[in-house]
Symmetry: C2
Subunit: 332 residues, 2 copies
């Protein structure tokens, strides 16, 4: 294996986009400032400084650069996407009463729920200011639609998560909303700002959509088989929070009466006891649902790669293909 291929594709893309990403970071720092309320940059910096992978803004930049866009507005759109993502994380941690994010205590724990809700609102508003700057109605429509779809997906998750009737179709709808909508909006606006034709914009959307779905399925799978160090989360968090994700949905579909009663008690009614997580893991193992979930994730990664097939060869295209593999590499 030569050095070139041993470097993670995400890091190769980051290196390729370094100049642009520095501009994105500078713009984020500038726009998260608040003359009157120092709490805002404090909370935002805690989350932004924790070093997420910044995959979403990179997708905007990558799509735009792959199609020959010379700037400057891909930077604004990348920052827009990162602000929407950060706002969503702040609100998610309040909704989930999370205590850890990216291996650090959450903002709602370090400050309070109030700060997380209101600073999230501020970042949403900032994202809307940013998205107007390129002056493209189409870009604004895509990004404001994505913001609505994200919130809709989160609300749907709230009502579907503890309902054993939730099937794989509803799960996919939730995932498309809460995760894939921002991925696909990121790649789509990258294409739109570069003036790409409709077929290319559609291909970019499809890539982002499938990549986002693969990403979320991997996340849900790692919740049952990952390690706290790798994910910044604790194994079984979703079970304890009574979130019906794909591994459990598949196990519920195959459950006998006794197993069903177990899921009703632990997920629907939330009456969990010592040893329940271990029992749940045993049921996932019995029905081989972790393996089946893994196959689904690999399938979506393959779809993401297939979507890019019609696009001409380009250094960045190769990296995007590799990123689809990389997203699922944590589970394969």
């Amino acid at each position: 294996m030569n050095i070139e291929t041993s470097v993670k594709p995400h890091d190769r893309l980051a290196a390729y986009l370094r100049g642009d990403m520095e501009k994105v970071s500078a713009l984020i720092a500038e726009r998260m400032a608040s003359e009157h309320a120092p709490r805002i940059p404090e909370v935002t910096a805690h989350l932004v400084g924790a070093g997420g992978k910044r995959l979403r803004p990179m997708l905007v930049l990558a799509a735009a650069r792959m199609l020959g866009y010379a700037g400057p507005y891909h930077v604004h759109l990348a920052a827009t996407v990162e602000f929407i993502h950060t706002a969503t994380l702040l609100h998610d941690d309040v909704v989930d009463e999370s205590k850890q994010r990216r291996g650090r205590p959450t903002a709602n724990l370090l400050w309070d729920n109030q700060s997380s809700v209101l600073v999230g609102d501020y970042l949403f508003a900032r994202s809307f200011q940013l998205m107007t700057e390129p002056g493209s109605m189409r870009v604004m429509r895509i990004l404001s639609n994505a913001a609505a779809t994200i919130a809709e997906g989160e609300v749907l998750q709230l009502t579907a998560a503890q309902n054993l009737a939730t099937d794989e179709g509803v799960y996919l709808q939730v995932v498309r909303g809460k995760t894939a909508a921002l991925f696909s909006a990121a790649t789509e606006v990258g294409g739109v700002i570069a003036g790409a034709d409709d077929a290319t914009v559609q291909a970019l959307f499809d890539y982002g959509d499938a990549l986002g779905i693969a990403f979320q399925i991997v996340d849900d799978l790692l919740d049952y088989q990952g390690e706290s160090g790798a994910t910044g989360k604790n194994v079984g968090d979703d079970f304890r929070e009574r979130k019906l994700t794909l591994p459990v949905i598949k196990a519920v579909a195959k459950a006998d009466a006794e197993e069903r009663a177990f899921w009703v008690r632990t997920i629907e009614k939330g009456r969990q006891e010592e040893g329940d997580l271990e029992h749940a893991l045993g049921l996932l193992d019995k029905h081989r649902t972790l393996a089946a979930t893994q196959q689904d994730a690999l399938g979506w990664a393959a779809k993401a790669k297939a979507a890019l097939a019609p696009l001409p060869d380009h250094e960045v295209k190769g990296m995007l293909l590799d990123i689809a593999d990389y997203v699922v590499s944590r589970i394969s």
Copy 2:
């Protein structure tokens, strides 16, 4: 007193704008729907159905109509403003842990904090979708700036509210953010969409700004002297929530050592005991700060009216002048 003048100005304006407001209501109902997440219209309808005065959307319509705009986009902008307002209320009630709003239990009590946070996010996103539809960059800039200013004001309030160093200047900044920003954006975009000249747009902004400040000061005053039935809130809520509003800020400025120790204990440290609210009311009375706060509100209402002076006579202008009086009539 003839019938004409005995009807509240707000109701006269509502009657004048009835056709437009019906379109706004229909648009709100259409856009708060969610194909996938029925929880969204449930929560929204609870709040929208509680019958707020809809003053903010009426301000958009009034400004646009006064300047001869024939439509249709003033309806979209009115709905935008109402969505931003509703989203803000949902999040405020989470932040304040409120139990009552418009005389009914709050959404966070009837459902949960999660629903209030996420449905609020959905309405924010919907408001941004709506504001793009007229296709005016200037309108989008005004409204997205207002959304950022609102969130900034709320965060500032969070950090300033329990700090006895908060003076009237900081209070005004908070009020401009959390309340006046949406009033002034409403009147301003009404003028912009109607194609008004810069001086007229500025006059409309100034009217909305002063009206919003008067409105919030009245609200803060009523918290200490209103009745639960009239305001849908309980007397002393702000004191119990340790919110430093104008009547208390004025009392702190005049406090002797013993009184200051009382405010430090009850507001800064939050160690409140039986009888503290009565003692606080006694101090407001001693320093006559409720009367002084009332004077400030009347002063802002006068400024609102003065702002409209340069505008030509119009039926709607008369109603807007009367509304400035009406806003402060609850306290005079």
